[in-house]
């Protein structure tokens, strides 16, 4: 039994194709990441799977229940944390949690073990209005509320967007411990560096999945040699690498440019001396393995 199973899901808004034939399976107990930019269709997919929106065509099940025919069953079994903070801003931390527990016909005490590690961090502020919490604390409260009825599948739509690096790291730590308690997690993010924290990922762009696999397999399948190129003047270096006739692509990647040669005959040494002839200093060219961002760009190159 899959935690989530989707077949050929399509959804249009007017003339805009939000999803064009998305199929995938999430195995029980997996952290499955949907990774792609804003507007790629992540939220639409989450809303269809959580029974809040009907697909135009295609089928999907969550915990073996059909998202259309058995939506009531699904709503009792999933936890959903929308991308936009959607708790009651005028209620306190504790009141929000109690409301969510009551709606699902349970109590905070009954499932306290599940939220304990997360909730304890915000418990000192339990009498504060939710609207007055910091971003990191709102996120912890929203996760607690999504968990209080002990869901079997958790849907987290961009939980780390706009969150600082410290809270972000803590959040992924919480997801790992929830996984250990047997909860399946579907999480979306625009941040490619979070891919490695998932068991499996789907890369999404313009309403379709570019690839579904483990992060390790995806980077392993990068089809070309990849070099890092560094120098003293990174901006001029970008232009000069691109001017080389045997270079296919060159993109800025922070402290190095990532370069794919178009011609297998070109060597890192040859590129180095070409760049030194152009007046660059401190040039280093060396092979590297691809990151998820490199793969995403390779996969979208054909259809920009």
């Amino acid at each position: 039994m899959n935690a989530v199973s989707a077949r050929d899901i399509c959804k249009k808004y007017g003339t805009v194709h939000a999803l064009t034939g998305v199929s995938f399976d999430v195995e029980p107990g997996d952290i499955f990441g949907i990774i792609g930019p804003d507007g790629a269709g992540k939220t639409t997919l989450f809303r269809i799977l959580t029974t809040l929106l009907l697909a135009d065509s295609g089928t999907a099940t969550v915990d073996d229940h059909d998202v259309v025919k058995e939506f009531r069953l699904i709503r009792n079994k999933v936890g959903y944390m929308p991308g936009r903070f959607s708790l009651y801003q005028d209620l306190t931390v504790e009141e929000n949690l109690n409301i969510f527990a009551t709606v699902f016909n349970t109590t905070v005490r009954e499932n306290y073990h599940l939220i304990k590690d997360i909730y304890q961090q915000i418990e000192p502020f339990k009498n504060r209005r939710a609207g007055a919490l910091s971003g990191g604390m709102k996120q912890k409260l929203a996760l607690s509320c999504a968990l209080v009825h002990k869901p079997s599948v958790l849907f987290l739509d961009e939980p780390t967007t706009g969150v600082d690096p410290v809270s972000r790291k803590e959040f992924w730590g919480m997801l790992r411990s929830l996984k250990q308690q047997g909860i399946s997690i579907l999480v979306s993010t625009p941040y490619m560096d979070e891919a490695g924290l998932c068991d499996r990922i789907a890369l999404i762009q313009s309403g379709r999945f570019l690839k579904i696999d483990t992060p390790q397999n995806i980077v392993g399948q990068f089809g070309r040699p990849l070099w890092a190129v560094r120098g003293e003047r990174m901006s001029a270096l970008l232009r000069d690498v691109r001017s080389h006739p045997q270079i296919a692509t060159c993109f800025a990647f922070g402290d190095a440019h990532h370069v794919t040669p178009a011609d297998p005959v070109l060597t890192p040494d040859a590129l180095s001396s070409y760049l030194r002839d152009k007046g660059h200093t401190g040039i280093e060219v060396f092979p590297i393995s691809a990151s998820i961002e490199d793969c995403f760009m390779e996969l979208t190159e054909a259809a920009p």
Partner: protein, 246 residues
């Protein structure tokens, strides 16, 4: 030449020291990353540098002007972009440029020809009459950066400028930043994403109101024996005693 010179800059709110005697310089044309966890004091420090908030003590000069005595001249010498607020969604592309160019004091006669030149450079000619709200996010980001440097300021402050765009678009954005820096515009950028910090010439990391580290990303990674800026950041931010309760 330094375009930002800050000496023991401090801001207190009651008994709380938000910014605690920070000292640093930023050179012309430099891409300077200003990092710190939520609550570390970044926003307060940046507001002082933009002439929006008066320091409690210490001094700062931005674009050659004293932030305490000449805040209006500071404001006229800088550009500002943040992801939260940048452009007016209900105005057309050219109207946004016209508005901000006027606010920043670009001579009226120059605005129209420079608008066309900018749209040509960005490949946006066809979108001149488009409402900003109809643009894809990546285009909005490129446009709002271009608007923030339209008046060729000495410094542009980028407050968490990117996020949510695909990797290719993100790189086009950084290339715009590189081009502006090449023209001599200093880039002062805050970001929560440490892979973006790697693009900076130098970064500072604030912890509890103080600058705990400042150097090039490479030197910091060497100093902290960490493979990425993300790890450098966590090694430093872990020391924070101030709780993020704001």
């Amino acid at each position: 030449m330094n375009v930002i010179e800050v000496d023991r800059l401090t801001k207190t709110f009651g008994h709380f020291t938000a910014v605690d005697a920070i000292t640093f310089d930023v050179a012309q044309g430099e891409i300077f990353g200003f990092l710190g966890a939520n609550g570390a004091g970044k926003t307060t420090a940046m507001r002082m540098l933009c002439g929006l908030s008066m320091p409690t003590s210490g001094t700062g000069r931005v674009a050659g002007f004293d932030i305490q005595r000449e805040p209006e001249r500071v404001k006229a010498s800088i550009g500002y972009m943040s992801q939260k607020f940048s452009l007016y969604e209900d105005l057309k592309v050219w109207e946004n440029i016209r508005l901000f160019a006027g606010i920043y004091g670009v001579p009226t006669k120059q605005i129209a020809p420079r608008t066309d030149e900018l749209l040509h450079r960005l490949g946006f000619e066809k979108e001149k009459e488009t409402l900003v709200k109809a643009l894809p996010l990546g285009w909005k980001q490129k446009l709002s950066f271009s608007v923030a440097v339209f008046h060729e300021p000495k410094i542009v402050f980028l407050d968490e400028p990117t996020g949510g765009v695909d990797p290719a678009t993100r790189r086009q954005f950084w290339e715009l930043i590189y081009e502006a820096a090449d023209r001599g515009i200093t880039i002062f950028v805050t970001t929560h994403y440490m892979d973006e910090a790697e693009y900076c010439n130098r970064v500072s990391i604030m912890v509890d109101g103080r600058i705990e580290a400042m150097d090039s990303p490479r030197a910091l990674k060497r100093q902290f024996q960490a493979p990425t800026m993300d790890e450098v950041f966590h090694l430093l931010a872990r020391k924070a005693t101030r709780k993020d309760t704001a």
